[in-house]
Amino acid sequence: METTKNWNEFILKWLIKFSGYSAIIFVILIFYFLLLAGLPTIREVSLSNLLSTQWYPIENYFGLLPLIGGTIIVTFGAAMFAIPIGLCTAVYISEVSPQSARNYLKPLVEALGGIPSVVLGFLGIMILAPNLRLLLDLPTGLSALAGSILLAGIAIPTIVSIAEDALDSVPRSYRDGALALGATEWQTIWRVTFPAARSGVLTAIMLGIGRAIGETMAVMMITGNAAVLPIKLNSLFHPVRTMTATIAAEMGEVAKNSTHYHVLFFIGLLLFIVSLGINIAASTAMFRQRKRAERILS
């Protein structure tokens, strides 16, 4: 009996260990393949071509700047909408709403996160884009703004869920202490609870933005995909082409190991590095919060 138990222990320990490490192995393998398929770009395409403003791959114009700019402006726009709305929702659910409302509000917000982005994209084409065009008198509703609003909708559930958890984990005694000192409810939220949950909130924002950067389907359907460098003040109201939409739209067409194929993988490599950076930043913030919490307790 004793040996069977040891044997079971051994298998389980290794199974769990393998599951734990498999994620790391996969990330490393993915990174390796991205490097393998993406790096030939540097040899095949001149730097001046990569840094030009013209993206037209079937005639060998591989200017990445419009795509990078498109991703930045759409993500930035999404953050503008998602951060205030997401954080306010989190504060309301965690601090203000009565317990009864809270019990169904959070699951509902999280259910919003489960809507497939292609469905959101469809709603965007049918409802959001035509109305934006009429409302703001734009040449076309298929614009960076429409993409930003849609992406905000995708990022908000992530932000709300994580920020609410962070606010919720602030010890009750903090709030009681603040209220006992005569602070109003708003002062308690803004000056005590919120700063105490700061790193968790930061993590929520970064993961929300990470979700927005990587989103593909909805953006491809609604941003118009015109590879224009968005540097003008009103660029938010014009069509843009994001990096993810470019990969999704063009990957099916390219012959394996052609220059175009390598450039698309190079774009994928850039996206991978950016989202890896965001995730590392987010987990560093989370780690710092834990250390700080430990310090307070000791």
Binding site: I125, G141, L142, N225, V228, P239, G252, E253, A255
Partner: protein
């Protein structure tokens, strides 16, 4: 001990589920060995046509299963080059680079002209513009004309719509309309052209937006948008696209539609392609708003 079972049982099920799928597919093959399947992928312009052909053919010869997928001409040819499909549909000719890539992969593409298609230029029904010359369309899409008032319309910004670059229609339009057939002309689509991933996207935006101009295969034009009459140059008559005007050679933007196979086809694939050339299959071409090859 019981706890371990809770963990291991689902794991076993997960592992087994892979096996189940595997055995199922082999069973299918052994149970009905005479079924031949043909993989057909490519041009979105041709996807409805290819589907109609495949359905009709499957009705006639139930032992041949043809799976049809869209994705764009470039996608189809790339798949043929990579050896993953039997027939590629393309609304443009295969490019020399693609032939070279095919050669490198040991694939030899063989071309068949299976139908013809007119490309209609479409605008919103409220747009007062009814006719344009090829030169004007070229100027619009290359960014030299930016307002509808320059071609006799209202004072509105022109929003240019196009299919993605993997579309054969896109390439055809670039070479024959924007560059007006000149090989040395290096004009491109204006960079603010909206590249939409589907024909439906173009129709939807043109229907809703009075600023828009788009183009699409004649078979895809719905009654919700307005077709533009086109002239080769302003001295020629302006012609609306239809099967009749294409067959008469009057409508200036018409093209052949192709199927490509690896090597000269044999067996089921050859039978299928031969059937497509018959009048029975070409009648379907007419029904779907394309132009049959027999008359041209």
């Amino acid at each position: 001990m019981k706890n371990i079972l809770y963990i291991i049982t689902p794991l076993i099920f997960i592992l087994l589920s892979g096996c189940i799928q595997g055995t199922e597919s082999t069973l299918e093959i052994t149970a009905t060995p005479q079924i031949t399947s043909i993989e057909n992928l490519g041009s979105d312009t041709m996807v409805n046509l290819a589907l109609a052909w495949a359905e009709k053919y499957h009705g006639l010869y139930p032992n041949v299963e043809i799976s049809v997928t869209g994705g764009g001409s470039g996608t189809g040819i790339a798949a043929l080059v990579n050896g993953t499909i039997d027939i590629a549909n393309a609304s443009r000719e295969i490019k020399p680079e693609e032939i070279q890539q095919a050669k490198d992969n040991g694939v030899k593409p063989v071309e068949f002209v299976v139908a013809r298609d007119a490309i209609a230029v479409i605008v919103n029904p409220t747009n007062p513009v009814n006719q344009l010359s090829i030169k004007q369309i070229s100027d619009i899409y290359s960014g030299r004309i930016n307002n509808w008032s320059e071609v006799g319309g209202e004072d509105r910004v022109i929003v240019r719509l196009s299919r993605e670059t993997n579309s054969g229609t896109h390439v055809y339009f670039l070479e024959n309309v924007i560059r007006m057939g000149s090989k040395t002309d290096k004009t491109l689509f204006s960079s603010d052209t909206l590249l939409l991933p589907s024909s439906e996207g173009i129709t939807a935006e043109t229907r809703d937006n009075p600023n828009a101009i788009g183009y699409d295969g004649l078979g895809y034009v719905t009654s919700e948008v307005k077709m533009i009459a086109i002239a080769l140059d302003s001295s020629c008559p302006f012609i609306l696209p239809s099967a009749y005007t294409v067959n008469q050679g009057q409508y200036p933007i018409a093209r052949d539609l192709y199927m490509y196979t690896n090597n000269q086809p044999s067996g089921a694939i050859a039978d299928y392609i031969n059937w497509i050339m018959t009048s029975e299959a070409q009648n379907i071409v007419t029904e779907l708003g394309f132009v049959p090859i027999s008359k041209h």
